[in-house]
Amino acid sequence: MEFNPKIIAFLCKWCSYTGADLAGTSRMEYKPNVRAIRVMCSGRIEPTFVLRALRKGADGVLICGCHPGDCHYQEGNYRCLRRYHLLQKYIQQMGIESERLKLEWISASEGKQYAELINSFTQTITELGPCHVKETMEVLT
């Protein structure tokens, strides 16, 4: 059976979710593997969310926020960026491939870029294969 990755995307309300919406209303076609979760700001995305997604069986996690300098709350996306770098360091230490976690800035007008991002990220994860976090955590003793 062909591997069909599960991807969780956390999108900020002001830029990235609107960008995703634009891709939809412009009837752009892109891969259906992403489950989008809207949050108020990329600064709201805690490392806990990402780790929980991986633990629950996500094969990849995508984080999108406003471009640097464009955050609706001024500083949120910088916090997101710092957390992303720290998380990357942590997941690699835990043996999780760094490609499974991706951060991209998507503005409200970048519907096309969003569609392309989803396609390329889905491609990356498909090539990488299933994530083993969930099954590893289930095996005890």
């Binding site: 916090r79 960026l81 957390r83 770098h85 720290l86 835990m94 095996v139």
Partner: protein
């Protein structure tokens, strides 16, 4: 004559732990007289000559309160966890190891095979030409000798059996134990099952006496030996990693008062599902830099994020062992 109240029956058991928890029980000092006046210690391998068989012979729920310290690392730990659960009215996970996996839980960075390879083959002091490994059974003339089975994963007590209460700390502050014990003895109303007791609900930082400014900004992380601590400024503001933002109060600031940063043994504040992730969130928020390259440079000095943020809690976190 006034009828004497029946004495409580109490047990203390030591699984995968260093023994510090048992010492913290002994640290009640002269309060020990109050303890033994109110309770009989029926099982405590480190201090009394009691055997596993004595516990097995007891009727169910015979022990009123068991303080179980240590993580579950092998089949012996697991057997005793289940046995003591069966024989105890109240089972308390006592100390960081049984609460969250603790320091032994850091072994989840390695597999059983990697650990055995290191210990029985590669370690500098090992001479093991025959590549002998511990077996769970070994036949000798007199019969069969048994050893517990070493598991691949270290687990916290609640991952193995049903736990009534958790008393955190590495080791728990003895004063907290006395408070909890006295509450049980005097028949005070006990908190709901599953509660963390003998600890506060606020974060360490909330009540820390060190001086804090409103603009917490970290430009560089230091190892504690690299900084001459002024004894009064917040450790984080001096660039020293401190687990204060996400760690419960209750320890009476043992480390901070000793001029050492918090290591997080009391575990996370209530409602935190993954202690290390919460700490990563807090730390990342206060790094000064805004460019990827600069952020990476600051993070370079955090040499072991997983080990630092999950020092006591790896087995209970979302990613509780390394993925191979």
């Amino acid at each position: 004559m006034e009828e004497q109240k029946p004495k409580l029956k109490m047990a203390v058991y030591w699984a995968a732990a260093c023994g510090g928890c048992c010492v913290s029980v002994l640290d009640v000092h002269e309060k020990l007289f109050d303890v033994v006046a109110a309770a009989d210690l029926v099982f405590w391998p480190v201090a009394l000559d009691t055997k596993y068989q004595d516990v097995e012979d007891m009727p169910d729920k015979n022990i009123d309160i068991t303080l179980f310290n240590g993580a579950v690392r092998n089949s012996e730990n697991e057997h005793m966890a289940n046995l003591l659960r069966q024989k105890s009215e109240i089972l308390v996970a006592y100390g960081s190891c049984s609460h969250m996996g603790g320091i032994p839980g850091l072994a989840n960075f390695s597999t059983k095979e990697e650990l055995f390879q290191r210990v029985y083959k590669e370690s500098e002091s090992t001479v093991n030409a025959g590549n002998v490994r511990p077996q769970t059974e070994y036949k000798v003339e007199e019969g069969i000798l048994e050893l517990p089975e070493f598991y691949n994963d270290v687990r916290a007590l609640a991952d193995v059996t049903d736990v009534d209460y958790f008393i955190p700390g590495c080791p728990p502050q003895t004063e907290r134990l006395v408070e909890v014990f006295m509450a049980i003895v005097t028949g005070a109303e006990l908190p709901p099952k599953g509660s963390v007791i003998g600890a506060g609900t606020k974060a360490q930082c909330d009540e820390c006496i060190r001086k804090k400014s409103d603009t917490k900004r970290i430009k560089k992380f230091h190892r504690s030996w690299e900084v001459e601590d002024d004894g009064e400024t917040c450790f984080m503001e001096q660039g020293i990693l401190c687990m204060g933002p996400t760690t419960r109060t209750g320890c009476d600031y043992r480390c901070i008062n000793g001029n050492a940063p918090c290591r997080g043994c009391y575990g996370p504040t209530p409602d935190v599902s993954d202690p290390g992730a919460k700490m990563m969130s807090a730390i990342a928020s206060i790094i000064e830099e805004k460019e990827s390259a600069d952020i990476d440079r600051v993070l370079e000095d955090l040499v072991d994020p997983a080990g630092s943020f999950y020092r006591y809690s790896l087995p209970v976190s979302y990613v509780r062992r390394t993925v191979s």
